[in-house]
Point group: C2
Chain length 249, copies 2
Amino acid sequence: MRVLLTVAYDGTDYCGWQVQPNGITIEEVLNTNLVRLFHEDIKVIGASRTDSGVHALGNVAVFDTNSRMPAEKIAYALNVSLPEDIKIQKSMEVKKDFHPRHGVSRKTYEYRIRNTSFPMPINRFYEHFIYVPLNVEAMNRAASFFIGLHDFKSFCSIHTGALTTVRTIFSCSVQKDEEDGVIRIQICGNGFLYNMVRIIAGTLIEIGKGLYEPERIIEILNGKDREQAGPTAPAKGLTLMKIEYEGIE
Amino acid sequence: MRVLLTVAYDGTDYCGWQVQPNGITIEEVLNTNLVRLFHEDIKVIGASRTDSGVHALGNVAVFDTNSRMPAEKIAYALNVSLPEDIKIQKSMEVKKDFHPRHGVSRKTYEYRIRNTSFPMPINRFYEHFIYVPLNVEAMNRAASFFIGLHDFKSFCSIHTGALTTVRTIFSCSVQKDEEDGVIRIQICGNGFLYNMVRIIAGTLIEIGKGLYEPERIIEILNGKDREQAGPTAPAKGLTLMKIEYEGIE
């Protein structure tokens, strides 16, 4: 059977999702633990190959197994041996031809910025700290220009392997929690290019600092040139919140 | 002058607040950094001697210095050398006779419980994980019995040095965020005994599990016996939110 795993992790101590020679990755830890559990040669296929330091509440991976363990129980069995910073949130059987990078209907990311005078130790691994007061209203107005179908070539790292840089954004908003001073950029779309959310966050931060007007986003999109957008914001502020598929609850 | 510091820390890697021979403490790190900054023999006096693993957004400490650095600037100067897991949130001059353990008008603590089927890597150092579904309504009703002036002898570790075990609780409530599954016990009072919030949390958890009725709190308070209350809940779920003083903003 093919099993879908909803995977949560604290990306702080990992070299991202994808197996690579220079350090330990989420994918590698999952593979090792699945092989140990089922005594089969298992390799997961991931939905989002998140960067080093990026977190997830709900990344998705699938794998095939001959095991007869009920699919829902696999989360429990796997969590026993997984480290504290990677835990399965759900496991379920899916159709044999289900592929986690096809048929995605919505992906939701959150980028968190602690915008206070001083850094806050609690949550420091999950927030990007900026002491310059940011104009949240301007950031939120700028965010609205990302909504819809656009060519995001300007918001994509040069080394992308994507066939097309056109994506649809369903929602994008910026809100500040006045109590703790945390600004949250929430973005939901049908797919994201390499580094796209971090470049969007970096650009919104520049607008929040007043370096340019919210309307500049329209020009940057039209320019189709990475040089026109802001810098790539640090990985630790980014969390992949969830991935939704058509026909899967 | 006497300077008041509002201190935030992630208590995970510290043996609590108070200087002790077996490991590094928050107090010790503050002293070392103040001595280095002012070249004077400085020792802070803390308001709350939090336990090993307990966090703070706003613990308070004072110290005396002959320095002429404007008191408000000390937070900036000190944060340059402090580690990432201890950061000053505010510094201000107070009267020469101000003592952080006298004249406290309100202390607020929060105890966080992640009550979901599986542990969540993000925030794992700041939440106590319980997979058994807790009855939040019962916990909140039980919490209401702590409000007012009571003898908290049953909710205090035996080895207390306190002269009286009578304290006033201004508010105590239990709420669950249905989106992330986190239960927050918030408690505000004029003072707390050794381990008092963690024993209250441990007792509320037992009520949440249905081990006894909310009204049992009244009996436990009247019993004045530590044995009658629940276990001391783990330190990592506890955060000292703020300490308020009369006449200080």
